[in-house]
Amino acid sequence: MSFSQGFVLGQHYPGSSPVHRSSALVKLIATIIVMVTIFVAVNTSEYLPVALFLLSGIMVSRIPARFFLRGIKPILFLIVLTVAVQILFTPGDSIWRFGVVRVTSQGLVLAAFITCRLVLLTLASVLLTASTSPIELTDAISDLLKPFRYIGLPSAEIALVMSIAMRFVPTILEETERIIRAQVSRGARIGEGGLVARMRSFIPILVPLFVSSFRRADDLAIAMEARGFRVNQPRTRYHLRGFHAVDLVILVFSLVTLGAAVLLRVWR
């Protein structure tokens, strides 16, 4: 019984495709551009260039489609919920009604729009984290935040905090699974019964999880200091990499995506 199987958001899928090899900073910027495009879109048609861009990225990355499907699985509930809300509560021309329940064409359009938005956002983030190792990603975030250093933002530290958080997602999931197994073996019925019973059933999981997370944080802090980590010190890097053709291609295509979406809006 695996309780966290298939949780791929933030998981790295190692490979040697051009997507994997390209600069993490460029991928991060491209992802931000694509996400901005997704958020500013108002019509489903504007998602076409984004979908094309992401699909070609996915194809080139040679990461199996299954991996992305598993990434969408955890947000399936969210999608179903928002779709239901949109379909049922959007006013407009009703095309089907049953008592107080009525479905409007506007509702269907909105539901399709929101589904596309959520799926594309997930695909974009899974593609980024799957093709980029956490270390590369941290370096990229730190590079991206560098300009803010002049207003006193500790960019390297923020990047480190984020990368540690990401690094420990699988560890904490594993820990959760371990604790659930132990409590189930002690007769715990997790997520069963009424609302109150169900909430209470999570206490024997959450408390040990917090305790172990704090202990782990302490251990990590000590281990880092023991290896000479100091806050506010300039840091050198092991991996240095320049700007390559593939980076330029990704950057250009993400900008083209944004441009195409804008054009699609203007043409209407």
Binding site: I179, A182, R186, V211
Partner: protein, 287 residues
């Protein structure tokens, strides 16, 4: 009725390129009332095997039967199996959540709907089995106890459920040598007084030799030996093939035999070797 596994395979990530046979054709029986050891090098599948015994993992192929009931993926079957089999996982103190030692130990009993009086008596008797029955512990936070005390409370929290089988996955890891010995002696006395079947997963061959009547030896997910502890450790090549060490007592007895000395000592657990030594020496002393 025993725990019986028939031709059990367990594959992690089945169908993926990284699929991995954690267990391969495991057939074994844990007889009632015994103190059984499960040994094997790291990664040999011990923990995976143990999780099959109470349905936390279900076999990819083959069958697990507990008390002649096949363990299948049905809520009431799994609940009934777990009711019979207690597992003390590695570092069981990591599962603590309650405010007091009493509530921590009572958790399982309450889950199984023990009456208030029975909860009370079970908690107290479980804590006394592990030597933690001092009243001052009852209302203390389990987080404030020392490492050894925490381990005992965690073991008590499983014993309190009064199950037929208690499986312990490296219960002595990280304990000092005195605590190690007493925890295991307490389990042995539990086995004798309540006819509980105890399964011990361990890396420590000395404690296996001392406490287990029979051993199941795993290597690369398969059972390579199943039988009496003496037979296993009496065959040093079998032991080293499984990537394990001989217990100190067997080594001592072997070394003494190798000297061809007058000190003839029978091979066995450390207490047996000690006893044998004592006899031989006293025989030497009396002309």
């Amino acid at each position: 009725m025993p725990i019986v596994l028939t031709d059990v395979d367990y594959i992690y990530d089945s169908g993926e390129p990284i699929e991995f046979f954690a267990l391969h054709g495991i057939t074994l029986e844990i007889p009632d009332g015994e103190f059984v050891g499960i040994v094997g090098r790291t990664g040999s599948g011990k923990s995976t095997l143990v999780q099959h015994m109470n349905g936390l993992l279900l076999p990819s192929r083959g069958q697990v039967r507990v008390d002649d009931v096949a363990v299948i993926n049905k809520r009431d079957v799994l609940a009934a199996v777990r009711r019979k089999i207690g597992i003390v996982f590695q570092y069981p103190e990591d599962q603590f959540f309650a405010e007091t030692v009493y509530d921590e130990v009572a958790f399982g009993c309450r889950n199984y709907g023990f009456s208030k009086e029975r909860v009370d008596s079970s908690v107290r008797s479980a804590l006394s089995v592990v030597g933690m029955d001092d009243e001052r512990f009852l209302l203390q936070s389990p987080f404030q106890l020392s490492g050894g005390e925490q381990r005992r409370v965690a073991i008590a929290s499983v014993i309190a459920m009064e199950q037929k089988f208690v499986i312990l996955d490296e219960p002595t890891a990280g304990l000092d040598s005195i605590s190690k010995l007493s925890v295991l002696s307490e389990l042995e006395s539990l086995r004798q007084s309540r006819k509980v079947t105890v399964v011990l997963v361990s890396h420590n061959m000395d404690e296996v030799a001392e406490f287990c009547t029979s051993v199941i030896v795993l290597d690369k997910g398969s059972v390579v030996f199943s039988g009496s502890t003496d037979d296993f450790f009496g065959n040093p090549s079998l032991v080293s093939d499984a990537g394990l060490d001989l217990p100190e007592s067997y080594r001592l007895a072997g070394a003494l035999a190798g000297c061809g000395s007058l000190l003839h000592v029978e091979r066995g657990s450390s207490s047996a070797v000690l006893e044998s030594l004592r006899r031989t020496v006293s025989k030497l002393g009396s002309p």
